[in-house]
């Protein structure tokens, strides 16, 4: 990061916060065929993406965000990055990619941009579902957490969305960690993150 006390965030973050790109404006009449939302106001962050997808390519995107400066900036940056991108590539964008393009974020702010990619994936899932292709990218970009049972971060995310709130609940739904148990620490870390994002 540049001089942190010139501003709290990088100049790129400041630019996207003060002049955000592609904010959804109802007066604009934006035509979209996919919509996704994630986050929770109780936690202080919520994001919504609307996409126009043609031939599996994101032609244009709009968004709305309730959140802090870095949440606004990271959603704005993400909306720029995905234009012209195939939906499969967009689905695989990692929070880290956005953080890098923003010139870095303070550690406690990474969570905000984690939400951007989730809202985007929710929108792409919405598109797939509308086109009879539900769950097609389910394991795209997924990271295997439990190698004994081949359970990915996406599976943990899905389990939380289905109601898992603790380790026992996660095991009930996925059987994760029931063989060697070596994944417990990293799985619990993800569990807490997803519970915070999707359930609190």
């Amino acid at each position: 990061m540049s001089d942190a006390f010139a501003w709290l965030y990088s100049d790129v973050v400041k630019e996207h916060f003060t002049n955000p790109k592609n904010v959804f404006d109802p007066a604009e009449g934006f035509v979209y065929n996919a919509e996704g939302m994630t986050g929770n106001i109780k936690c202080g962050d919520q994001m919504m993406f609307r996409l126009r997808i043609e031939g599996d390519v994101i032609v244009d995107a709009r968004w709305k965000t309730y959140g802090c400066a870095s949440a606004i900036a990271s959603t704005s940056m993400l909306s720029e990055v995905i234009k012209g991108l195939g939906i499969k590539d967009a689905y695989n964008i990692k929070p880290d990619d956005i953080v890098k393009r923003l010139g870095g974020l303070p550690d406690n702010k990474i969570h905000c941009s984690v939400l951007g990619d989730k809202a985007l994936r929710a929108a792409i899932d919405d598109y797939l579902e509308k086109n009879g292709r539900s769950g097609e990218f389910r394991n795209e970009g997924a990271r295997i957490i439990c190698s004994c049972l081949n359970i990915s971060d996406r599976d943990i995310e899905e389990a939380v969305k289905q109601g898992a709130r603790d380790w026992a609940g996660l095991q009930d739904r996925t059987k994760i960690g029931t063989v060697c148990g070596g994944c417990k620490e990293s799985a619990e870390e993800l569990l807490h993150e997803y519970v915070h994002i999707f359930a609190e």
């Binding site: 202080g44 802090c68 400066a69």
Partner: protein, 388 residues
Amino acid sequence: MEQRFVYMDYNATTPLRPEVKAEMIADLEVYANASSMHEAGRRARSRIEQSRASVARLIGATDPERVIFTSGGSESNNTVFATMFHLGRKGPRRGIVTTKIEHPCVLNAAKWLADEGFPVTFVDVDEYGRIRLDQLEKAVGPDTLLVSVMAANNEIGTVQDMVAVSRIAKASGAFFHSDATQSVGKIHVDVNEWGVDYMTMSCHKLYGPKGIGGLYVKTGAPLEPLIRGGHQEHGFRAGTYNNQGILGFGLAADLAREELDEYIVRIGGLRARLRDGILAAVPKSRVNGHPEHVLPNTLNVSFPGAEGEAILLSMDIEGIRVSTGSACASGSLEPSHVLLATGVGPELAHGSIRFSLGRDSTEADVDYVISKIGPIIARLRKMSTVSY
């Protein structure tokens, strides 16, 4: 309107008054240890005792000896709780009763005692942030060792009915402590009227230097030193005297006492102007805290649909310094515990801003803030997923 720099974060800290600063700088020449017996030491000591008298006068304490200098509010509060730890281990009373809206320093000291096996009760407050006296009455009893209630809240400015709280605390036979860090210099504080056994003060909230504070200890109230060592402060707080800090505290206390009546009227007027201006400029904004029993300088407002850190940084870009109860600005995941305790939902707590005025605030500052807040909130609401 031309860009201005407007400081409205006086509850976080205040600037050092120029006249206090000048005297402190001149006093740096006095390097003698105030504990030394020689003439130079005695001279340094004499200024310290003058300051003690000034601080005592500000809080209505008749005996200056009852004021102990510490490094600040956190140390004063911790000294009281450490004293309770020692008393509770030896005596029959162990109960600690405090509120849900205390400063983290009291909350965490109370949690420490809870971890040590002391029964600790955090009493609720009402929607305006005033302690529920009915609950307090039920919470205290023959086992209660300490009742600790902050006189005025740092975030929402609500001032407690200290006489009523004190009466309930004293009737139970417990010691009564108040964290008056945000009250001293802003409202009339009288240790005898409030009936406190212990009262915490901090100097940097009243235009004095940082790193110095005080603890009032009523005659007969026990005290266990947090810092052991030499005989300074009658052995209650060891460590070489902070000559310049104490001098600054005394001067700031004198000035605060002389100007208090004028401060209350003038700053209270500015607060009303700011409140009315913001409510008119921003639809659906709402004021948190007590409408009447509130510090003259503190205004806490929730802006539904906009998040606090984004508001704070937008104002920062416009040269306005404020603070927020949003979790995003604090590094924790929870928004302001004070607002949540008053029943404000997390959504509104995330979107809250504290404006705290001070003696350098002007009508022009207030009008500048009012002119900027409307467009800032409108811009963030336009981007927001939350309808309000």
